[in-house]
Symmetry: C2
Subunit: 294 residues, 2 copies
């Protein structure tokens, strides 16, 4: 029987939340540091990355308790990056998802340190997956460090900051997003494939899927920034345009960006054909990404 993505999300998001809380709560650390870490973990994230880990596994018909820990490792990296990106020295954002950003509540020093601690915790989690073979653990750690580091997410943020000063081509924009958001989304899906011990050929198809939904995700973000209200976004709408940022709608127009997004969507679906499943969760995920209003 076909699983419904919405049901899948509703079932799994609370388990992800619970695991994230437990991972931080069990730490013997200064109370302000714990509060700061918990605050950002609770800041209303949609848990897209951890849910992608779990959805990939589900589509491959694998059940594995340690998948929740792996899923949380990605979310910890994602959350740390948001805390650091919001800092005055970076994007200088006061609000995210309608809540004050970490540094507005806890100060810049603690925000930097909470982010640093979350990064370390992400790698620590991956060593606590007793049901996995050590070679799987090492492979996950290698891929997460690559996806989140200088060649991945951090490098993408550097390119993004550099790009603010000038107008970019679509190719340059894509190069930023492939690193800044794409690398971690790709990791989420590859992590599922590693947990399922998938062969390289099928893993390659999932990576292709990940590449395209990563870009579709970003194009959708850019479109939402133009078409949503500040209230809907939980942060100032039209902020990209106000900051003169290069975005897909700015470069291609809303129609061109939408077309591009659906082309990515079709490519992503095509990559999933090897699953031989009607309504695979990952296919529904791709649909969710392009149709979401938030």
């Amino acid at each position: 029987m076909t699983k419904c993505l919405e049901t899948f999300m509703k079932e799994n998001a609370p388990k992800i939340d619970k695991t994230l809380h437990a991972l931080i709560d069990e730490l013997s650390i200064p109370s302000e540091l714990k509060k700061s870490m918990i605050y950002s973990i609770n800041a209303g994230g949609k848990r897209v990355r951890p849910l992608l880990v779990l959805a990939t596994l589900d589509d491959l018909d694998i059940q594995l308790d340690d998948a929740y820990i792996v899923a949380c490792a990605v979310e910890l990296i994602h959350t740390y990056s948001l805390i650091h990106d919001d800092l005055p020295a970076m994007d200088d954002d006061d609000y995210r998802r309608g809540k004050l950003t970490n540094h507005k509540v806890f100060g810049d020093a603690l925000a930097i340190l909470a982010g640093d601690a979350m990064q370390a915790l992400a790698f620590q989690c991956l060593t606590r997956t007793a049901s996995l073979a050590p070679t799987q653990q090492v492979e996950l750690i290698r891929l997460l460090s690559e996806a989140s580091g200088a060649e991945g997410m951090v490098g993408g943020q550097v390119l993004d900051l550099e790009g603010e000063a000038r107008s970019l081509s679509v190719d340059e924009l894509e190069a930023i997003h492939v690193r800044k958001t794409g690398a971690l989304l790709s990791f989420s899906i590859e992590a599922g494939a590693i947990l399922a011990q998938l062969c390289d050929d099928k893993k390659g198809q999932l990576k292709r899927y990940a590449h395209h939904i990563g870009l579709a995700f970003q194009i959708k973000d850019d479109i939402l920034d133009v078409t949503s209200t500040t209230e809907q976004l939980g942060k100032p709408a039209n902020s990209d345009e106000a900051q003169n940022k290069s975005t897909y709608p700015a470069l291609l127009g809303i129609d061109g960006a939408t077309e591009q997004m659906y082309a990515r969507y079709e490519e992503a679906l095509d990559a999933l054909r090897f699953l031989e499943k009607e309504d695979a969760l990952l296919a529904q995920f791709a649909h969710y990404i392009v149709e979401r209003t938030l």
Copy 2:
């Protein structure tokens, strides 16, 4: 024949430098990010932590090429922590070891990101140690993430920042240093023990050694801050007193602090007895730590 620590350092420090450079240089990353990372790697560190990894292995009569990579992982964590600690939001230092701090040269945003990237690279390195068993790799990653994270180095920095506002007891001071600097020094020595596949009993002795030299190291740092000139330190002398920081000399007097330091030194030497070596490198290291003038 007894090895001389000075010769050992002169032989190995350049190899550590070379490995660190290679690890960063081979990355395909934005050039400013690479420059920023290389700048801090070149900022004149004494390579105490990586040399401790190598000295531990040497005292255990083990030769292992991958030890250099493990040694560099610790130095990357140490270097990232210095970059973040120096930020205006934290200690706000303009100089370190006589050179401008990273954010003074590259700006706050790039300094934050270079630090973040170095942390990821440290864990990445540890997955690239092909001569180790995957269980050893996972154990090293687990220990490094613990030593550098919220329960270790980052937590120590939080306590340190919180402690600035009030005067601390010697116990509170020790609790800070055990985390802030001790955890990473301990990791360095434990890493050597893991690489050498040492039994738990001997590993325990090395951890005891590490605990005591960690504290001796910090007491010496505090003493040097009082007794050195700005020129010798490469940063303002007497800065602790000027900032009203709790230090060992402030709490115990110079004589009391010196006595405490030598007590730690003796404990450290005692823990090394199982090596059954005259002039073990680690014993010489302990001596170097308490006698250094920089």
